[in-house]
């Protein structure tokens, strides 16, 4: 149901762009207004979300330690999984952000009669996730060639490397294939693993289907409908310089692709896609495990009610004396015990 809902939403977007161009001819709207609005929402939304996160303090130092702590010099410690200072935290964060270190630990539990539990090698989610993110990054960088003149060297080089497996003309980008496979894997996985399907919300299917549609329309513009890339570049350069005019003859498929991309950009800060930013602020990962070494201060700390020793002794004094335990105040003969309340 959640899947169908998301699929319908993406199809509606495709239809909107198609009708908007073919029937209503709203070229300027789709090629100029939509990208600017999307980009504004993206920037404003992201800034808002990050500020909201940052506005809440980190009262306690709660890293998840996944390796040996810093202790004696003769015990080898694990600097990346249990960092003891900021430099080592940087190492942990680089491993998390660039290589998805935690996801790499993934295993799959299997239960057999007995009951007997097994833990199996399961790195496909890690492979799929890494493939999706890196192919997306390459594709994003490649698209810079539309927004720059002259095209920077690294963008050209990236395009060259990406298409070194020359299959037909124009060359097939490896990143396109990896991206499509990764998105399909993640989507299929979400649909066929019963537990993952059970936990999936519309907000989990929607970005995957959206990315799938972006991939399909992107590939269509490049290999099949042969959109006039020079005109696309004129448009992109114009958008970047805030002096664009809508191009005359670019295939409708391009406008569909553009609307889908704009939707993804605008949707990003208001969805789970913000995990990209959240990981940097995650207190179980970005703090050193050093709160026994250095004091961590809680900015909203406040005094609390504590039962003092004086109150304790007041309650148990007789029993304590009887048991030979030292007391601060002996029981005065004939009268109730009085504990000096004033501090020295």
């Amino acid at each position: 149901m959640n899947f169908i809902m998301s699929l319908v939403a993406v199809l509606a977007l495709v239809l909107t762009a198609f009708l908007g161009i073919e029937a209503a001819g709203l070229r300027t709207f789709f090629s100029m207004a939509v990208p600017y609005v999307a980009f504004t929402l993206f920037i404003a939304g992201t800034v808002y979300r990050v500020l909201a996160w940052a506005s809440s303090p980190v009262p306690f130092r709660i890293p998840t330690t996944a390796g040996q702590q810093k202790t004696f010099p003769w015990i080898k410690r694990n600097r990346f999984d249990n960092p003891a200072n900021k430099k080592e935290v940087l190492g942990r964060m680089i491993l998390e952000v660039l290589l998805f270190r935690s996801l790499f630990r993934n295993t799959k539990a299997e239960i057999e009669k007995g009951p007997k539990l097994y833990y199996q090698w399961e790195k496909w989610l890690w492979v799929g996730g890494l493939a999706l993110h890196y192919s997306f990054l390459v594709i994003l960088l490649r698209h810079l060639r539309f927004f720059t003149e002259p095209v920077p060297f690294f963008v050209q080089a990236l395009g060259g490397m990406d298409s070194f497996l020359q299959v037909g003309l124009p060359g097939i980008y490896i990143s396109d294939s990896v991206f499509m496979l990764a998105v399909i894997y993640l989507l299929v996985r979400r649909l066929i693993i019963p537990t993952v399907r059970y936990i999936s919300l519309p907000g989990d299917y929607f970005p995957l289907i959206l990315m799938l549609a972006i991939g399909v329309t992107g590939i269509l513009t490049r290999y099949f409908t042969r959109v006039d890339l020079l005109k696309v570049k004129q448009l992109a350069l114009g958008l970047a310089k805030f002096q664009s005019s809508a191009p005359e003859q670019v295939g409708t498929i391009f406008y569909i692709h553009l609307l889908l991309v704009c939707t993804l950009i605008a949707y990003f800060p208001f969805s789970k896609l913000m995990h990209a930013g959240g990981i940097f602020l995650s207190p179980t990962r970005n703090l050193p495990n050093d709160s026994r070494i250095r004091r961590h201060v809680n900015p909203w700390d406040y005094p609390v009610e504590v039962q003092t020793y004086a109150e304790y002794e007041e309650r148990f004094r007789e029993k304590m004396i009887e048991a030979g335990l030292p007391v601060a105040k002996e029981i005065a003969a004939g009268g109730p015990a009085v504990y000096p309340l004033t501090k020295k």
């Binding site: 809902m5 909201a52 996160w53 809440s56 303090p57 009262p59 306690f60 709660i62 998840t64 330690t65 996944a66 390796g67 040996q68 702590q69 810093k70 202790t71 004696f72 003769w74 015990i75 080898k76 410690r77 935690s102 993934n106 295993t107 539990a109 009951p115 539990l117 989610l125 537990t195 993952v196 059970y198 936990i199 999936s200 919300l201 519309p202 907000g203 989990d204 208001f270 969805s271 789970k272 995990h275 995650s282 207190p283 179980t284 990962r285 495990n289 709160s291 026994r292 070494i293 250095r294 004091r295 961590h296 201060v297 809680n298 504590v306 039962q307 148990f316 304590m320 048991a323 335990l325």
Partner: protein, 539 residues
């Protein structure tokens, strides 16, 4: 006590319900939930809405403005804890955590998958605090806050042991323990706690320890253990209490003073301190290392923990030594200094025996007993006869809190291997940072919760059974008071031939003391290896 099915009859069903998870209705089946906090305990602890009620009742007697209390409580905590704000926003429901939870593996209940446990709270957050949730409702993953949701929170937040195993695997480090802790804080605003926790908290506040042991009884118990030591070794140890001017204040969970097999661990501490001539004292006021406040709210954790530094200051000791405990050490390592520090009236801990300075405790001034002992062994200060433990084929259970809230892996192994000749590790997926919970942590080690405890402990028990079958392991060691009690019950249920030991009990067995008589039995009074024959002759 709820009826507990036999291990062979315990049904494990992973079939997912037809209904989606947003349906909040919970079946309160006996054995899967803990008794409600009694009014007198909530009152004694100073917690709100004390009243007589039971989770099995349909009317939970919530305050009339309960919704407002929850929403205000959430708002306050979102503003106070970045962790909560981030964890509410960034989950992508990848499912990596799903089969990492011992309660999910042992129960098959999908709401025990960490992702859904968090979604129980997240769905309410979306509905009240996000624009998308307010406009699109369930399409945006939002739910309405109803009494059923509160009941569901109670059921599942007291069905999580805050072990943090899922957090190790989460690509964003989302920590269900943090969500459970805050979830329980919210429930406590409505007077919804379990009695096993509230009772311990109330006791701890008034008598200084969870078990409610009064000062004279505490002293008597330790002196009884001193008698036991004399019977085993011929050596008389002389513990002191509430003594001003001692160098070290020693604090351990009260379970070590009162509950087998923790008492044998306590005997090990006493023997070690005596042999080293340590200038230390117990305190009857700060006689609890554990902190059930941690399972109630951050404020309650602070209130109970405050006694440690307060007593160290009153007695004028130089530093603190802490016994074998799990969540106590998460509290000490990650919260104590922040909550009740700075402990600038204490000195950076220095072992009076080896001269080692514990730089890693430079600020909190509290050293773990296993660190202390590892340093003694490393410096050759202990005369040990590990052959006395030769009847034990040992494995080691890493406690959740010392593992994932501290990173305490090598020190205990070093000590165990120094005092035991036969040691085998459980499979790597079940130890160290991937260790499985005993199933009874975070205040859930009560009798009425027994079925869930045995289910939650299944992954741990399975790993023990694996090494029992493969290497003939018959002993399971640990450094946690709840483990010592809970794993004993768990082993009786799943792997009956395995006995549970505290690490310092093993140290006490192996420790060759000055002036000791020939030992014929271990600290439990069982014959030492090679002494069985002489034991028989006596009969």
């Amino acid at each position: 006590m709820a009826k507990l099915p036999k291990p062979s009859e315990l049904a494990l069903d992973y079939t997912l319900p037809k209904k989606g998870w947003m349906d909040a209705a919970v079946d309160f089946r006996p054995g899967t939930w803990s008794h409600a906090a009694r009014a007198k305990n909530l009152e004694a602890a100073g917690l709100p809405n004390a009243r007589q009620w039971s989770p099995a009742d349909s009317d939970w007697k919530l305050p009339s403005n309960w919704k407002q209390i929850i929403f205000e409580g959430m708002r306050e905590r979102l503003e106070k804890f970045r962790s909560l704000r981030i964890f509410m926003d960034i989950c992508v429901r990848c499912g990596a955590c799903a089969d990492k939870c011992h309660f999910y593996l042992g129960s098959g209940d999908p709401k025990n998958m960490p992702v859904l446990r968090s979604e129980l709270l997240r769905s309410i957050y979306r509905g009240e605090f996000t624009l998308a949730g307010k406009i699109m409702g369930s399409i945006a993953g939002a739910r309405e806050l109803t009494e059923n949701v509160i009941k569901e929170w109670f059921y599942y937040f007291f069905q999580c042991t805050e072990c943090r195993r899922c957090s190790v695997f989460c690509p964003f480090g989302i920590d269900t323990a943090e969500i459970t802790m805050i979830g329980r804080e919210l429930l406590n605003l409505l007077g919804l706690n379990i009695d096993w926790i509230a009772g311990s908290v109330a006791n701890c506040r008034h008598t200084g320890n969870h078990l409610g042991i009064q000062p004279h009884a505490f002293k008597n118990m330790i002196e009884f253990l001193a008698d036991e030591i004399e019977a085993v070794s011929g050596v008389r140890v002389q513990p002191t209490f509430n003594r001003k001017g001692a160098e070290i204040l020693f604090i351990t969970p009260s379970g070590d003073a009162f509950a087998d097999p923790g008492t044998y661990t306590m005997m090990g501490y006493l023997m070690l301190f005596h042999e080293m001539g340590l200038d230390y004292t117990f305190s009857t006021y700060a006689s609890e290392g554990g902190n059930f406040g941690m399972f109630t709210s951050h404020e309650m954790m602070k209130r109970l923990n405050a006694k440690m530094y307060a007593e160290a200051g009153r007695l004028g000791v130089k530093w603190l030594l802490g016994g074998e405990c799990g969540h106590m050490w998460r509290a000490v390592n990650q919260y104590m200094d922040t909550m009740n520090g700075p402990a600038d009236f204490l000195e950076v801990p220095k072992s009076p025996v080896t001269g080692t300075i514990f730089d890693n405790a430079a600020s909190t001034k509290m050293v773990h007993i296993v660190e202390f002992t590892a340093d003694l062994i490393r410096n050759g200060k202990l005369k040990l006869d590990p052959a006395r433990n030769d009847n034990l084929v040992m494995t080691y259970h890493d406690s959740c809190n010392t593992s994932r809230g501290m990173g305490f892996f090598e020190e205990p192994r070093y000590v165990i291997k120094s005092v035991c000749n036969k040691f085998h590790e459980m499979p790597p997926e079940t130890i160290r940072e991937q260790t499985f919970c005993c199933g009874s942590g975070s205040g859930l080690n009560n009798d009425e919760f027994i079925e869930m405890r045995m289910r939650g402990g299944l992954p741990r028990a399975n790993a023990v059974r694996h090494v029992e079958e493969r290497h003939g392991v018959n002993a399971l060691s640990c450094i946690c008071a709840i483990d010592r009690s809970a794993l004993t019950t768990l082993m009786d249920y799943w792997v009956p031939d395995v006995t549970v030991y505290g690490v310092h009990e093993l140290v006490g067995n192996a420790l060759v003391m000055k002036g000791e008589s020939e030992r014929t039995s271990d600290l439990r009074g069982d014959p030492l290896p090679g002494m069985e024959a002489s034991e028989d002759e006596n009969i």
